[in-house]
């Protein structure tokens, strides 16, 4: 027995292929949406993995440092270092801000880190690690900056010495790593006008500007223009210790909050990404319906165009199941080719997206199954029409 579906497709292949491509683009969009969600989750995970930390110590009763603002004194790290089970601990600061290079401005997460400590970028895509104590930066390739360029963060210029890949914040902003003191200054110190304004206000305060105490005003101004805060302390746990074991005393005795990686992941994925995830899920459902409608419509139209042939086939003795099978096969073929087109197209255009799009094979497989199911269901409309055809119509009335 030959394949009626195959012959029909071969006969009208142009239309079929065009329809498959159209469907494929729609499927590609759907796969990309799923990829956007996966990319967001992966961004969060990448952020946690790349930091190299087992514990995040933040301000008490905050969910920082990524989901919420957190501020600690920078000498807290010393007392954390003394706790049992702590292999390494270091201060870090995070601030999302605009970084400019010439006329080109980029929104980036500026990370202040201590050299050789948790918080430093692990592997580099190009260039080298920071060696000077000031005014050097390692950037992620998504910023669009190149090695050797001068970039401006707040008041200072930094030379780009190294480049990374996939170092992004949970919101997808690329990271720029600079030495911790520079980052503290960038986070705290404002522009010149604001500084002068602040100085004038302090000088006008009689409690701080006492003529009988020379040097008091200078000391107060100096204290105001220095920053001794950081956003978090990253802790690496010694082998043989569990992160929870080390976190418990920090929470109890140090009036701080400590999160393990599992907890941080939950905070980021469950809370930060939750709204976006719901939106994407709704979008996926709508796309599924649209795809089903399109496939149904296409197959229905194709079937209607064959009503006469179907009547003849029925009259000369073709089984109903054979005819239904033909329509179903066409729908599934459309779906399969559309899926392949969609998967290829999604892979090709995924890197162009501003946010990271992660196309997982598991998603592709479920997508394939869903497409096949949708096509099968969508074909039922056309099958019903085909089955209702009266073979007597082939005999002219």
């Amino acid at each position: 027995m030959i394949s009626l579906a195959g012959r029909d497709i071969l006969h009208g292949w142009g239309k079929f292929v065009l329809t498959a491509i159209g469907l494929g683009l729609l499927i590609g969009v759907t796969l990309t949406m799923a990829g956007v969600y996966r990319g967001m989750v992966d961004d969060a995970r990448a952020l946690l993995v790349n930091s190299g930390a087992d514990l995040w110590v933040v301000q008490q009763e905050t969910q920082g440092p990524y989901a919420e603002a957190s501020s600690l004194r920078d000498d807290v790290v010393r007392s954390v270092l003394g706790l049992p089970g702590v292999a390494r601990a270091a201060n870090v600061t995070y601030l999302t801000m605009q970084v400019t290079q010439g006329a080109h401005e980029v929104r980036a997460m500026v990370v202040g880190f201590e050299s050789g400590q948790p918080g430093e970028p692990g592997h580099l895509l190009a260039g080298r690690h920071i060696t000077r104590s000031h005014y050097e930066a390692v950037v992620d390739e998504r910023t669009g900056f190149k090695l050797g360029q001068q970039i401006r963060i707040r008041r200072h210029d930094y030379t780009v010495v190294g480049m990374t890949r996939r170092m992004v914040s949970s919101g997808g902003d690329p990271m720029v790593f600079i030495p911790l003191p520079d980052a503290q200054q960038a986070q705290f110190l404002k522009d010149n006008d604001a500084i002068l304004n602040e100085r004038a206000r302090t000088a006008a305060n009689p409690a701080l500007n006492r003529p009988g105490v020379p040097g008091l005003l200078d000391a107060v101004l100096a204290a105001q223009s220095s920053n001794h805060n950081v956003n978090a302390v990253l802790v690496q746990v010694q082998p043989g210790y569990r992160a929870d074991e080390v976190a418990a005393p920090i929470r109890r005795w140090k009036h701080l909050e400590a999160y393990t990686r599992v907890q941080m992941e939950e905070i980021l994925v469950a809370k930060l990404i939750a709204t976006a995830a719901r939106q994407i899920a709704m979008f996926l459902v709508i796309l599924a319906f649209v795809s089903a409608a399109i496939v149904a419509f296409i197959i229905y139209t194709m079937t209607l165009g064959k009503i006469r042939e179907i009547a003849v086939l029925k009259l000369i003795g073709t089984r109903n199941t054979t005819i239904a099978g033909m329509i179903l096969q066409q729908a599934l073929g459309l779906g399969l080719i559309g899926f392949i087109v969609g998967k290829v197209v999604a892979t090709v255009w995924a890197p162009v997206f501003p946010k990271y799009v992660l196309l997982e094979s598991g998603d592709a497989l479920s997508g394939l199954l869903a497409v096949m199911l949708i096509c099968a269901l969508a074909s039922t409309l056309a099958i019903r029409v085909a089955l209702k055809v009266d073979p007597a119509e082939a005999i002219g009335g």
Binding site: I2, G317, A394
Partner: protein, 241 residues
């Protein structure tokens, strides 16, 4: 009685019920021997199509008896369960328009029926080629139906009708769109095939060009048939496309 060919006795078909009932066929009687080609002539509305549909096991008659190829298929009720298989194996259809499947090539169009009946593809195609040769269209075996002339298409459709060696062929106005030369050619072929394969053929027509060729004619009027002797004019043994 089970003899080959077609036998129809007291066939009646009523549409509707009660006051709006209409008898499309009132009392139809026909006999066609194997190898014979008879004409069925009548004005429109006389019940020709209805009779064809009943014979083709597409609609159910109201009462009567139909015997096809020695098999009683209807006797005040269908005697056969699988009508579709009946159509496929025991009845060949030739339509006004060739009605070839456009997405199958000529050979597959003819081989389709044997394939549906379960023949392996190679055998089915071999038989199709045989028939195409007999009908002198074998040189078009690989072509798409749309590339054939009207006459060639009609010959292919005849080959299709013969593909499963049915004992009966029902032809519905097979020559209507053709000119006299081609019309006669079709009739010539039908006669030839009927003799060659021992098939009983009913040709429903009102084409004046071919009516003289029938040896026997059934007139149908108001749902009743009347047998008549035809002229039986001889046909030139010439086949042209």
């Amino acid at each position: 009685m089970t003899e080959p060919g077609i036998r129809i006795e007291n066939l009646r078909k009523r549409y509707g019920s009660g006051d709006t009932a209409v008898d499309a066929l009132k009392d139809v009687n026909m006999v066609v021997a194997p190898g014979e080609v008879v004409g069925l002539i009548g004005p429109s509305g006389s019940g020709k199509s209805t009779l064809l549909k009943c014979l083709g096991a597409v609609i159910e008659p109201t009462a009567g008896r139909m015997v096809l190829g020695g098999q009683t298929i209807y006797d005040d009720g269908w005697q056969i369960k699988d009508l579709r298989a009946l159509r496929r194996d025991r009845i060949g259809f030739v339509f006004q328009a060739p009605h070839l499947i456009p997405f199958l090539d000529v050979t597959d169009n003819v081989a389709l029926l044997p394939m549906l009946a379960g023949s392996p593809n190679r055998e089915a195609r071999a038989r199709a080629l045989e028939l195409l040769q007999a009908l002198d269209v074998a040189h078009r075996a690989q072509a798409q139906p749309s590339a054939l002339s009207g006459g060639e298409q009609q010959r292919v459709s005849i080959a299709r009708a013969l593909a499963n060696r049915p004992p009966v062929i029902l032809a519905d106005e097979p020559t209507a769109p053709l000119d006299s030369e081609r019309a006669l050619a079709v009739v010539r072929i039908l006669n030839q095939m009927a003799r060659q394969y021992d098939t009983a053929i009913i040709v429903v027509t009102h084409d004046e060009k071919i009516i003289p060729t029938f040896k026997r004619i059934y007139h149908i009027r108001d749902g009743r048939t009347v047998e008549e002797a035809g002229e039986g004019r001889a046909l030139e043994p010439e086949l042209s496309a």
